[in-house]
Symmetry: C2
Subunit: 242 residues, 2 copies
Amino acid sequence: MLSKNEVKVIQSLCHKKQRQKEGLFIAEGVKLVEEIIQSDYRVKKIFATEKWQSESNPKNLITTVVSDDELARISSLQTPNQVLAIVHQPTSTELPQISRNLTLVLDGIQDPGNLGTIIRISDWFGINQIICSHQTVELYNPKVIQATMGSFLRVKVFYAELKSVLENANVPIFGALLNGQTVYGISKPEEGIILIGNEGQGINKELLPLITNPITIPKIGGAESLNAAVATGIILSHLCKV
Amino acid sequence: MLSKNEVKVIQSLCHKKQRQKEGLFIAEGVKLVEEIIQSDYRVKKIFATEKWQSESNPKNLITTVVSDDELARISSLQTPNQVLAIVHQPTSTELPQISRNLTLVLDGIQDPGNLGTIIRISDWFGINQIICSHQTVELYNPKVIQATMGSFLRVKVFYAELKSVLENANVPIFGALLNGQTVYGISKPEEGIILIGNEGQGINKELLPLITNPITIPKIGGAESLNAAVATGIILSHLCKV
């Protein structure tokens, strides 16, 4: 049974300000919540249907059992899926090591679905660190978390001022542009940064001079551009292929 | 000024049944509507703000001028963008020629954003014909049309019973699977079908025996799968690269 106050708390966590204040975020669905429970993340509270409580609940955690109607009321999903968890945000850590690594750097990705999908792509290709500009959508936005399909548990996502990150990187910086070298001919770098720009505006002007290796996906047909997540997938598939 | 009846007509076109009955669909936004006006598509009616009417309107078409509030009321976009058009669906044509062409075949893509993005990718890589199973989301769903970013004007999309299409194709059929040959080593086919399955279920069981060339995107990290549109982008970039 849901209290009015619980509904209010969950709804408040749809707002970035409140998520940051409380250090919490929301995750939903059988698969995702179970992956979180099995991870190092600390779960604060679980709301689940009777079915989840009796058939799933891998560590037998204390659960507030809710009806399907109650779940629908607190869920952000089109099709609510048995369980919603309130999870602690891990305390933020120092920026990752850039040398001897591949790092994905995102300059102002705005769409939550795109960021989540990019984290999932990064995970697929074994890139486990992403640095985002402060203008990039927040990791703990519920739509980002859901779109990662659990990959945020394996890929570390940081936020930083990109200019100083790139200036101090001392590794090749591959920037996705419309007029770079074709991405098809490049062999896998041992270390480097792959820089992806905003959906509409591309990479920020002040970062352009810091790109050492401009790359591009050659266009054959008529479309003006590719979706940012799709472009990231194509670039990583060519740069990371073994 | 919008009449109640006009609002009702526009809202009714959010439903597939009504779109099919009327042979109409909706497109929104300055860029998309202008591309449609410049194309062979027949525009039935335009609703636009004073700004669009005076600054854009490339062919000086008759427009129902609406206020920002009125546009917000009929728009499906989060940020309505000056203009909404009701457009005639072209009368459907025969299936395209499969031989001496590359054809993308979609088996049950469900998410409108994915279908729209796939049409845009297809356009980028110069593949101008797509055949969808009847279980695939409808082309004229407003979310599909918006996600194509105008590429539906250049890529022909057909719906058909896939089994008979594939049985009669007589070209290589590349099927995206989790356990095929790596897509990295394949050289550009002169003709062929590239078959992509449903987001969750993959390719329908009854189509699997018809695949002549099973292909896969090798996984390096931990993600279980890639988004269907991202996978399509990666596969096309490797198969179509010149």
